[in-house]
Symmetry: C5
Subunit: 172 residues, 5 copies
């Protein structure tokens, strides 16, 4: 049986078994386990330097549980901000205008200010400047919306409450 590596919210490494005999079923099973445990804040996808990249069309219903993150609100500098909590830190959501000179289209970016203890290769912005930051994810480009990364539209069982995800089995 295959195994996926997770890090709990405290940082413990846990390997969790997943089913799947074919590439497609294994893939589904891994994604379902990411959703089930990501909801607890467990992470299995280390933040790549420069952040995750997805097509812009995936932003509206991106399933942040896949990364162990969740949408939230945080007040920074007396300003209430939309964004995402990931690994105990808040990443502010920002809409970036197209930059024709840099040939960059419209984008949505989730980022936070850098800390002195952030690993150097993940920190962006001019060195020495006060505007140094760490990106969690960028949604950009004309690529097709990734269905498998979206919040699943589950049918509600007739006349019943949905089983809370935290009580669901771990694997497909």
């Amino acid at each position: 049986m295959a195994e996926v590596r997770f890090f709990t919210d405290l940082g413990a490494e846990v390997r969790v078994p997943v089913d799947g005999d074919t590439p497609q079923t294994l893939r589904q099973s891994v994604l379902q386990t990411q959703r089930a445990l990501g909801q607890l804040g467990w992470r299995c996808c280390p933040l790549p330097p420069g952040g995750f990249t997805f097509p812009l069309a995936s932003e509206p219903d991106f399933d942040w549980r896949l990364l162990g993150a969740r949408r939230g609100i945080c007040t920074i500098d007396s300003e209430e901000r939309d964004g995402v909590w990931y690994a105990g830190q808040f990443y502010t959501r920002r809409a970036l205008d197209p930059n024709p000179r840099m040939k960059l289209g419209r984008a949505i970016k989730y980022s936070r200010g850098a800390r002195s203890t952030d690993p150097a290769e993940g920190v962006e912005g001019e060195e020495g400047s006060a505007f140094r930051y760490v990106t969690l994810a960028v949604f950009r480009g004309e690529g097709r919306r990734r269905e498998e990364y979206a919040v699943p539209r589950e049918p509600r069982p007739a006349g019943g409450r949905r089983t809370p995800a935290s009580r669901e089995a771990l694997s497909a």
Copy 2:
């Protein structure tokens, strides 16, 4: 069956099986194993650069076994200090006053002086200064107390002694 990675007090990496078929039971099982083995000084949560962060309300009854640490006292510079032992080193407990200029509220910090052999990204304080330090944990902010990180209030069995934790089974 899932597995949690631990480091013994000597630094050996040991993978320990844990039960749990749903996210909630797996999570409980991982936390119980952390408590049982953390009591031996085994660690499963590597110290993140800048230290662990918890809400201030979690400080009074935080369960240090989760990190493989334990409360203790150490005499440094002829002064008896409260603090925590973690991985063979003592981290002094300090209450930090609010700093309105930095917009930081009251906090409790556990830290120790840096050594020349500490990895650079975990060391804080001005470079070249004598006041360089490593933080184990900061308790700060108005967040709700994390029940799951607290020392459990176990009922004492009527007329009997509690089983010492070191004899308890490893998993829930």
Copy 3:
């Protein structure tokens, strides 16, 4: 049973069981699993600094699924380019003329421009120059074509459609 470590397209680490009792059958089984999961964009071979190297004769039918990559086309600077997608980034295919002074023969190279967040040891080109790049693979030299790295020539079952690779079992 042996296990191969993969990284999904989101970066999750998954260990997948493979069969094989002798070195040759284990090897075949690992390669088949690389093909089956590489097709999903899962990678099991981290990019070595300086890129993968293969003989020039392996280029025409190299099986990019082994690396979790796939041939593709991308428009960069209004120019349509041939190349390969790997881990969400596009590597342009370039034919390099022989360089007798450097004693280098004809080669095909797959590379992309470097980003500020690329790990330093994988970036090539003069430091400070604008032409810094990262190599995915170089095909060079007179070595014999590596049959085991080529796209397999599978016989089509008489009168039937081939089973899509994504429905095939994971191991030989």
Copy 4:
């Protein structure tokens, strides 16, 4: 069943199963496996930057097999030295006098001269100086002798030879 990670004398990573249902029995089992395989020169405790630290009282009968090391003698600069072999290198034993100015008590240190290929964070001594060294272990301080780290005093079976440790089972 739990697993301990070892590195053989050639550097291969091997995971070895160990028994133990409670924290105490798991701990005993891990230590016994460390002794059994440490005798072959297999290591499970990577050298921490600055070396291992133990109380001074543990030095006389410290069980070096726990670290995959063994006491030995080596002739360096025509001088026969006591010390310890660890991972193919010899660490000289030195008794350090108390240093009241640095508030350091008597200590026994096992160290060797640094090489150009040693990882920077483990090298001590003034940078640029000729006296750069790497510490394997320091025994210092008034702490209680750690019974579990000592060479076990095994009763000799009446009228018989002890089973050589290399023939003993791996786990308790």
Copy 5:
């Protein structure tokens, strides 16, 4: 059952089960698996900074399969050289004369010129000089020949061909 970690010639990480209930049988089993898979170019011993070190007496019949390497010949600068292939690169064999000033005896060294993408800590020779190199192995010193690292002298079965190693079982 114990497990050994290997890297295939493409760099995939594969864990392979090995037998062995006692330290000696586990050790034999690990070495046999290293020979069987090392013959495919699979490596389980990452190159330590500065290279592997063995006694000079082990050089003549050292079993390079243990490292996933093999003896070979390569033409460099129009000169045919003896050496060893390891991880796709050629290391030239060189006999070093004794250096009484440095107190170094006769040695055989396998090394190659450094590349810009080699990790810094494995590169030797004066910084900035053109003679920077990476060492695979040094055979030096009066130590006893290591029987367990030598090519086994297997008895040929009477009247029969030996089973090719690639068809042998993986473990002892």
